[in-house]
């Protein structure tokens, strides 16, 4: 399955876009508000400064003069940001703060309008030129105020805001991730449980799932139940059919051995061959279905527990004992259905028992994601590769004289193949046949 778009990335992107747009909107709004506020404050300041300046103009003996005591001290501090120029007749009074610079000349503007222009030392000035009539004379008063510091102050504030906003954004994304992880925890739990169902460790999903997930879990459980029921039904149907056929087949098998039929050798042999084929076919299909786990919990194959009774059964069946060397770790447990692996090992060992002179070696170990099972005997083995292929094929009997259906190895190979494993015939160092089985370990977690 190709993974679709990430939920996390999706939500993170949404939050990022929303918060960024919101931040930009707030910053723009604040900027707009500040511009208006700054204009009003600066204009009021300049306006009142020009009025106060007018108030500081006195009439003396030699004409009008500026009363220094009534002047704002800021006008005296060099480059303080507060400046004035007063023109009356031919006289021109400048504030001391202007020092050796000049106010920018504003042309084309009618008196009484606010003008912004760059001032000395990179200052940003708001200028107001007004004309007053006093003491019978015309005074042109230009007052300038540096609004730069105010703007700079606001900028600092704005930058701080953007920085904090960015931090808040990062924190939100982090929080979102943590929340999502927690919110998706039940999904991870469900995934683990499904893997456990697959591995046969549990039958259905259980636990507390959030309201949004509960219907899905319920659906999965229903599906599991239905699949299991269907599997059990068809397995039972096949099993019942197979077993029901075997008893009449046993009757036929006995009938065929009656004297009157035995006397007709050709007929007897033909019937016998067909009956054997029928029996073999049923056995092969049954062994496929018997072991199939129809959901439910898996009963693992534990060599230390399950091999000794199997060997005892084989010894009984063949009425002869052999030296069987088992090699596996004592606590070994294979997560393969016990009945199925018993069927595989039973069939392979049954074959080995038929042919072995005195000894069979069985080794089981797990490595590199596979179970390796090796069963060797010291019998004659199968040298011909074609014969080996036939032994794993369909209803093949290598030696008619040996009891049994001659398809044990094929049955074992069928079951192993159903588990995506492999069964190969090789030559044993003991001289006989070595059956090598590789079974993939059942992954309990899809990761």
């Amino acid at each position: 399955m190709i993974p679709g778009p990430s939920l996390k990335r999706h939500l993170s992107l949404a939050i990022l876009v929303v918060l960024t747009l919101l931040g930009i909107a707030i910053a723009s709004g604040a900027n707009l508000l500040f511009d208006r506020l700054e204009a009003r404050v600066s204009e009021a300041r300049v306006s009142s400064a020009s009025e106060r300046l007018l108030g500081a103009i006195r009439q003396g003996q030699s004409g009008p003069y500026l009363d220094p005591s009534r002047l704002d001290p800021e006008f005296n501090r060099p480059l303080s940001g507060q400046y004035f120029v007063v023109t009356v007749g031919e006289q021109r009074w400048r504030s001391r703060s202007l020092w050796d610079s000049e106010l920018p000349t504003v042309s084309g503007k009618r008196p009484g309008a606010f003008v912004r222009a760059p001032g000395p030392g990179g200052q940003q000035l708001l200028l107001l030129t007004r004309v007053f009539e006093r003491f019978g004379q015309r005074f042109t008063i230009t007052v300038a105020s540096d609004y730069g510091p105010l703007v700079a102050e606001f900028r600092r504030g704005l930058y701080l805001f953007i920085g904090l906003w960015g931090l808040a954004l990062a924190a939100s994304l982090l929080a979102l991730n943590l929340w999502l992880n927690r919110a998706l925890e039940p999904v991870a739990l469900a995934r683990r449980q499904v893997a456990e169902v697959r591995a046969g460790k549990r039958e259905s999903l259980a636990g507390e799932f959030p309201r949004e997930l509960a219907p899905l879990i319920e659906q999965i459980n229903t599906l599991l139940g239905e699949t299991r029921a269907a599997l059990i039904r068809s397995r039972n149907a096949l099993g019942n059919l197979g077993h029901a056929l075997k008893t009449p087949l046993a009757v036929l098998s006995n009938l065929v051995e009656r004297e009157d039929i035995r006397r007709n050798g050709e007929l007897h042999q033909a019937l016998r061959a067909q009956l054997d084929q029928l029996g073999g076919r049923i056995n092969r299909e049954l062994s496929q279905s018997q072991g199939t786990r129809a959901g439910g919990t898996l009963e693992p194959f534990v060599p230390a527990r399950d091999l000794p009774p199997l060997l005892k059964a084989l010894e009984r069946a063949h009425r002869r004992s052999l030296t069987v060397n088992l090699r596996h770790t004592p606590e070994l447990s294979l997560r393969v259905e016990r009945a199925e692996l018993l069927e595989v090992l039973g069939n392979v060992l049954d074959n080995a028992w038929k042919w072995a002179r005195s000894r069979i070696d069985v080794a089981i170990d797990g490595e590199g994601g596979h179970w390796h099972i090796r069963i060797e005997d010291d019998g004659p083995g199968i040298a011909d590769p074609a014969a080996r292929q036939r032994a794993l094929g369909r209803g093949e009997r290598l030696d008619e004289s040996v009891a049994g259906q001659g398809l044990g190895l094929a049955i074992a190979a069928d079951i192993i193949a159903a588990h995506r494993g492999s069964l190969a015939l090789e030559t044993s160092t003991l001289g006989g046949l070595a059956v090598r089985i590789d079974l993939p370990l059942v992954a309990t977690d899809p990761d």
Partner: protein, 222 residues
């Protein structure tokens, strides 16, 4: 040898009973699992052939009950359920042997023979050899150095029972119990006639008479 056959498929029983009889086994036959659960405690059987899928009671449960009751008779399970896990379950329930259906009738006879011999502590060899006497069970004759001595079915069954219980005093009642099925007509004279024929064919000392007690198999031994 007296056998208990528990099998519910009548056509199979129809085939098995004559074959078993021909092999010198007296057979009692039961169909229902509930009857089988009670049967061996009152009768003296030498072996039982038990099907698993029985009406009334499952064969494995019956076997477990028998074993729990201390019944030691050898049991051969004859069933269609013959996967290896089924076989192991059968042996663990107390079966002595297990044969899957369909089976070759000769295979059943061979296994039965081996089963009974083992339960009497005899070797599992092609012939039964006891005290210098060699009985060929397949051909139902005694192998002598001069040649084979043919036996009738009754003589064969009787001699086999003697040879599996050498040195034991067997009453006529015991012999009848183990050689004839429930439905057979029991006539103690038949046993005397068979013993007399065996003595004629194999020598007088082969079976010793203990007055008031019964008979003891001596064979050719000291």
């Amino acid at each position: 040898m007296r056998l208990l056959l528990v099998e519910d498929h009548i056509p199979l029983v129809d085939e098995l009973l004559p074959r078993l009889k021909a092999e010198g086994y007296a057979c009692d036959w039961l169909v229902d699992g509930r009857d089988a659960a009670r049967a061996p405690s009152d009768e003296h059987y030498d072996a039982a052939i038990l099907d698993l899928g029985l009406p009334g009671r499952n064969g494995l449960d019956i076997l477990r009950d028998w074993r729990a009751a201390g019944l030691g008779l050898p049991v051969l399970i004859l069933t269609a359920r013959d996967s290896w896990s089924d076989r192991i379950a059968g042996l663990e329930a107390g079966a002595d042997d297990y044969l899957g259906k369909p089976f070759h009738p000769d295979e059943l006879i061979l296994r039965l023979r081996a089963l009974i011999r083992r339960s009497h502590g005899a070797d599992v060899a092609p012939e039964l050899r006891v005290n210098g006497l060699v009985l060929d069970e397949a051909r139902q004759c005694v192998a002598e150095s001069a040649g084979a001595v043919a036996l009738t079915g009754g003589e064969f069954a009787l001699l086999r029972y003697f040879m599996l219980n050498p040195g034991r005093v067997l009453s006529k009642w015991q012999l009848a119990e183990h050689l004839y099925s429930l439905d057979a007509e029991r006539n103690s004279n038949v046993i005397e006639v068979h013993i007399s024929h065996l003595r004629d064919k194999l020598g007088r000392g082969i079976i010793e008479t203990r007055r008031g007690q019964g008979y003891v198999f001596r064979g050719r031994g000291p």
